[in-house]
């Protein structure tokens, strides 16, 4: 079971499109044969050889082993193919975008819901189901003086309301 193929003229590969071109002339008698089986067998054998070469080239590409399987890094395609739409015209930068670029302001990255809890050494949600903000409500033992230190969720809500009132 050989995996190597001898070819007089090497194929032209476009690995980005997973395609190859064979310039070797085909046997006209076999192609135009009246017996379709002969024609199909000939085409299948030529196709198998060329496909083998293409697969060999594809599997020679740099690989990346992941949990899902082996991934091959495909290069960019080399054949020029016409686009469906014209190239987008570059839009003028908005006033904010220009300001942010000059000042070096980067967009704020979303923190996400999980927060690292030192005590348990696990990532717990900041709020919501089993949220860390409700810790004090459900704790069965509360140290003296802790009530003043940490506000429970109810107290936080009330304090914000008070702050709004006093601001006026």
């Amino acid at each position: 079971m050989s995996t190597s193929v001898e070819k007089a003229i090497p194929l032209e590969y476009d690995l980005g499109n997973m395609s190859a071109s064979d310039v070797t002339p085909l046997d006209e008698t076999k192609l135009n044969s009246q017996r379709s089986q002969e024609k199909e067998d000939y085409l299948t054998s030529i196709s198998r050889d060329n496909a083998q070469l293409l697969v060999n080239k594809l599997l020679a590409l740099p690989k990346e082993r992941t949990a899902d399987g082996v991934l091959l890094a495909l290069p960019e395609s080399t054949t020029p193919l016409p686009r469906a739409k014209h190239l987008p015209k570059p839009k003028p930068e908005t006033k904010w975008a220009r300001f942010a670029r000059l000042k070096g302001i980067a967009p704020k990255k979303r923190e996400g819901k999980l927060v690292f809890d030192e005590a348990s050494g696990e990532w717990v949600p900041k709020w919501g189901y089993k949220g860390k903000n409700k810790e004090l409500d459900t704790q069965w033992i509360v140290e003296e003086g802790e009530k003043e230190k940490k506000l429970t969720s109810k107290q936080v809500r009330h304090s914000s309301r008070n702050a709004k009132r006093t601001r006026r």
Binding site: S2, A20, P25, N50, V55, R83, H86
Partner: protein, 315 residues
């Protein structure tokens, strides 16, 4: 051009943004249309091609009285409405039996068209293999010298590559090498009156078998459809439109500066080119002490006179 729709809610705005031209395009959507008269064979072939093109395909069931080579306005309307870059139009009449017209669009206008008549057809259903997962990227092979030399065959190669290649991807799962589309054609004769050779379109599913080397041995099993095309009318793309369509976006790579290098130690070494110096206007160092003032010049003159007197006395 259709009337410009101004989005009134977020959903329509999202649809419009999806249709905006992008730097990197995805797979082109293909429209499958039928003409006023169709044959069972050509409709089945259309159905099989639709199966290969899924999910980037739209299949229309109704008949349309369109003549692609006479009036393409209807096709352009369809292309704009469905955001399609490709179309296959099936028709059948006495003069052109089992006809498929393959059309490509650029900016919703016809770019180029080619008519291929089906001479031989074997549907997918006649082959006993497992059908492919729609959306898989196929491997493609073009066999025959004419695909590089003859303009019509180059058109066919470009068309089939564009049609079947699917979405451009960076990383391919090695299990994704599941099927291969092979297009073969004999050599076109020098004589232009002779008909062009037939185009043989085959689709095989691959089987990778263990071999003694690291690489697997490939075996092909025909999966269908099996189509033999004869080339009929061709409408090539206009040169300027094609050039516009083939334009590539400006790459964002940082240009490597010439004459600047990093040597072995890690120092940045460069070469600076300076213009030639004008030596007549050089600025040199001035030594003030060496300057001859007016008083000094007088003293010198006096001393010269005294010398002369001494000489006359001696005489």
């Amino acid at each position: 051009m259709l009337r410009q729709v101004k989005p009134k809610n977020a959903r329509t705005k999202r649809v419009m943004d999806k249709r905006e031209p992008k730097l990197l395009e995805g797979a082109k959507i293909a429209l499958f249309l039928r003409g006023n008269a169709t044959s069972q064979l050509v409709v089945d072939a259309l159905h099989d091609l639709h199966a290969l093109k899924k999910p980037f395909a739209v299949n229309f069931q109704k008949k349309n009285s369109i003549l692609p080579f006479e009036d393409s306005s209807s096709l352009e309307f369809f292309s704009e409405k469905n955001d399609a870059g490709l179309a296959v139009f099936a028709s059948h009449n006495k003069k052109r039996p089992h006809n498929l017209a393959w059309i490509r669009f650029f900016d919703y206008h016809v770019l180029d068209m080619i008519e291929l008549g089906i001479v031989d057809y074997k549907p997918i259903s006649s082959f006993r293999t497992v059908p492919i997962v729609p959306g898989t990227k196929p491997m493609m092979l073009f066999q025959g010298p004419s695909f590089d030399s003859h303009p019509v065959f180059r058109h066919i190669k470009s068309l089939f590559l564009d049609f079947f290649r699917g979405e451009p991807i960076q990383k391919l799962d090695s299990a994704g090498l599941s099927y291969v589309i092979v297009v073969s054609a004999g050599e076109a004769s020098e004589d232009e009156t002779q008909p062009l050779p037939r185009v043989n379109f085959r689709v095989y599913s691959t089987k990778l078998l263990k071999s003694k080397t690291n690489l697997p041995r490939l075996e092909l099993e025909e999966m269908g459809p099996r189509l033999d095309f004869s080339i009929r009318r061709v409408q090539a793309a206009q040169a300027d439109v094609l050039q516009e369509a083939l334009r590539k976006p400006k790459t964002q790579e940082p240009k490597t500066k010439k004459n600047v290098d990093v040597d072995l130690v890690g120092n940045k070494v460069g070469r600076i080119h300076v213009d030639q110096q004008d030596l007549s206007n050089l600025q040199t160092r001035k030594m003030k002490g060496l300057k001859r003032s007016a008083a000094e010049a007088e003293d010198e003159d006096e001393s010269e006179e005294e010398d002369e007197d001494v000489v006359s006395d001696v005489e």
